[in-house]
Symmetry: C2
Subunit: 359 residues, 2 copies
C-alpha cells in the first residue's frame, strides 16, 4: 500500500528519499525550546543532526542562544550560512585546524572544547590569527567514557592552563552526563566548581548535552545551557530513550519494495548506504510504518532485507513504505538534500549543506 | 608516532582522510584481471566500491569487459564519465526509474536485472524510450537470500516472460553464489540451463558476483563473467575471507588521536560518519596499523573509541594513525574525494563522483 505522498515522492525524487515534515520539525523545536526556557537553561542545539544552516536558523529564531557543532567544517558551513555564537564540542588539533579556527574566530563568536594540555597549548595561534581571544571550555567525562577529563582535579588543572595561556579564555565546562547518572555528574560538577573557585576561576558556561537528557533538564544544579541534537527530527533511539513518540518523528526514509523473492521475506531499496548500519542499540534497522511487524533484519549496501514472518499484511513489489530510522543523525548525513513536506504536501528541499564535513 | 606522509596528509587535507595507494590499486586490478583471464571469465567489476569513473576506466583499460552498477544514479555517473557496457544488478521499478533507464539506454549499452514479473513488466517503456531493445538478466538466489528468484523453475518462467515482452531481450542469469556453497549453485544453474534450453532460450551471460568468490573463479561450469567489487581496494573483510592480505589493502583512513582521557583508552577523529557502523562481521571497527593491538571498540558520530589495554606502545594525542576499515565500500561512500598516493608521495585527489547516488 502506497500513500499518495509516497507515490508523489517516488515520482518526483525517486527512492530512497529522506523526507522531513516541517510541521513536526517546528513543533519539536518549539517544545524543546519551551523545556529549556522552563528549566532556565539556554538552548544551544547541536547541528550535527541536520547539518543545515536553514534549520539552525529556525532553531535560533525559536529562541536558541547559539549552536553546537562537532567539527570545524560544520562550524564553517554554519558561519557561511549566517549563524553566530558557535560552540565546537571537539578537541581541535594540528596547524591546519588551528589556522582554520583562527579564520573562523575572526568572523564569528566561537568557543571550543579541550580535554588535554596538548589541545590547549595547540589552540594558542588561533587567537593570534583572529586578533581576539578564544573561549575554551574544559570537556569533562562523568561516566560515558567519551572525550573529557575524568576527574574534577584534572578539570581544574586544565582550566588553570587555559586561563594562563595568552589568547585563551577559560569559559567553563562541557559535559555529556550519562542519562541515568546525574547524581554522579552533580558530584563531579560541585567538586570542580569548588576547585575552580579556589583558583579564582568561575565557569561562565556549564553545558550539558544530549536529546536523551531532555528528561533531566534542570536536574543539574549549576548548568547554564543544554545541547540537544536529535530532538529536531527524533528517531527510534529517542523513542526508546523515552523522550519522543512516533508523532514526534519528523524524518522518514521513503523506500520502495524491490523484491519479494520468498513468501516470508522482502527487500527495500534502502540499505546501509541510506539507513546506515548504526544499530542505535535496537533490534532491526528501522521501523516500517505501514508494516510495523516487518523486521529490517539485515542490510547490504543498497538493500534492506525484510523478515515478514510476523506480518499479517505483507508488502508488494513496488510499494513505497516509510521507515523511521534508528539513528537519524547518521542517515541525514548520507544525503545531499532532504525532501521537505507539510503533512501530505511537498513544500521543497533542504540542502544538507554540511553533509560529510567531518574534517 | 606519525609518519611523514601522515603529517603531510593532516597538514594538506586534514583528518579523517580516506587515502588510496594507486600502486596497490593497480596491482589489485592487474591481479584480479589475471585471475579472470586465467579462468576464462570476463571481468565486470562492480563500481559501488569506488564510485569513480576514473578508477572504472583503469579497470577497463586493464581488460575488464564492462562494469557493474548497483543503482541507476551510479550508472548515469559512469556513462557521463565515458564508460559503456553497464550492468545494473538491481530491480528498477517505477516510472521515474524506467524513464531514466530509457534515456541511459539511448546513449550506452545497458543490461538490468529482474527477479519478479512486476519488475519485468515495468521495464517495457525503457526500450520504447531508447528506441532499442533492453537486455534483461534474471537474478537468481542460490542461498544468500538476497535478491533473486529462489528456484530454477522461477528463473525459467521469468526468462520466458522477458523473452515474450516486446522491447526486452533475455540476456542470461545473474548470481551471487554463497562462497562456501558452489555445488548448490551448480545444481541450480544446471537445472535452470536445461529448463531454458527446453524453451529455446540460452543465457548469453551467466554472471557471478563478489570479491570473496575470487577464490572460486572457474568453479562454476557455465559461468561467463564475474563481478568483483571490493578487490580494487580490499579491506578487513576481504582479509577475513582469505582473498587479500594487508599488503593488498589500498585504502586507509588517516585519523588523528584527539583524546587520551584515560590511561587505557583513547579517541580518534574517525567515527561512524567516516568508518561507518558496518561491522562486516568482524570484531572492532578497523585495524590501526601503528597499533594493531588497539581495539576500535565503539563509535560515536565523529569519535572512534580505542581500547588500549592490549597495547604495549600507546598512541599520543596528536598522532596521525592509519586505519584499515572493515568494509571499504561504505567508507568510500562517506567522502567526496579520495586522496591518492603512491608509496609515501601524494599524487592527487580522486573525486568520488557517484557518492551518495543511491537513487
Amino acid at each position: 500500500m502506497t500513500t499518495p505522498l509516497g507515490a508523489e515522492i517516488a515520482r518526483t525524487f525517486g527512492t530512497p528519499a529522506v523526507v522531513v515534515d516541517l510541521d513536526v520539525v517546528e513543533a519539536n523545536v518549539a517544545r524543546v525550546q519551551g523545556l529549556c526556557d522552563a528549566a532556565g537553561l539556554a538552548n544551544r542545539p547541536h547541528v550535527k543532526t541536520h547539518k543545515s544552516p536553514e534549520l539552525a536558523k529556525l532553531q535560533v529564531a525559536a529562541g536558541a542562544k547559539g549552536i553546537t557543532c562537532q567539527k570545524l567544517g560544520e562550524a564553517e558551513a554554519m558561519a557561511d550560512g549566517g549563524l553566530d555564537d558557535i560552540l565546537i564540542s571537539y578537541n581541535l588539533l594540528g596547524e591546519r585546524n588551528v589556522g582554520r579556527l583562527g579564520a573562523l574566530l575572526k568572523r564569528a563568536r566561537v568557543t571550543v572544547a579541550a580535554d588535554s594540555p596538548v589541545t590547549v597549548d595547540g589552540l594558542r595561534p588561533a587567537a593570534a590569527i583572529a586578533g581576539r581571544p578564544l573561549d575554551v571550555v574544559v570537556e569533562c567525562d562523568t561516566g560515558l567514557k567519551r572525550a573529557g577529563v575524568e576527574t574534577p582535579a584534572e578539570a581544574v588543572a586544565l582550566a588553570k592552563r587555559i586561563a594562563a595561556t595568552p589568547g585563551l579564555t577559560f569559559a567553563g565546562l562541557l559535559l555529556y552526563p550519562p542519562p541515568d547518572r546525574w547524581p554522579e555528574t552533580q558530584g563531579f560538577l560541585d567538586t570542580a566548581a569548588a576547585g575552580l573557585a579556589a583558583e579564582g576561576l568561575k565557569p561562565r558556561i556549564v553545558s550539558t548535552g544530549g536529546s536523551p537528557n531532555l528528561k533531566n533538564l534542570g536536574a543539574l544544579n549549576g548548568a547554564t545551557e543544554h545541547r540537544p541534537g536529535t530532538y529536531i527530527f527524533n528517531d527510534r533511539m529517542q523513542m526508546a530513550a523515552g523522550v519522543a513518540t512516533l508523532r514526534d518523528c519528523a524524518a522518514h526514509v521513503y523506500a520502495t519494495v524491490v523484491s519479494r523473492a520468498g513468501p516470508e521475506r522482502g527487500i527495500v531499496d534502502a540499505g546501509s548506504k541510506t539507513l546506515t548500519s548504526d544499530p542505535g542499540g535496537l533490534d532491526g534497522h528501522g521501523l516500517i510504518l505501514e508494516h510495523p511487524d516487518a523486521r529490517i533484519g539485515a542490510l547490504s549496501e543498497e538493500h534492506g532485507f525484510l523478515d515478514l514472518r510476523a506480518c499479517a499484511a505483507k508488502p508488494a513489489v513496488g510499494d513505497v513504505v516509510r521507515i523511521v530510522p534508528n539513528h537519524v543523525c547518521v542517515v541525514v548525513n548520507m544525503v545531499d538534500r532532504l525532501v521537505a513536506v507539510r503533512g501530505a504536501t511537498i513544500v521543497g528541499e533542504i540542502p544538507v549543506v554540511a553533509r560529510g564535513l567531518s574534517v
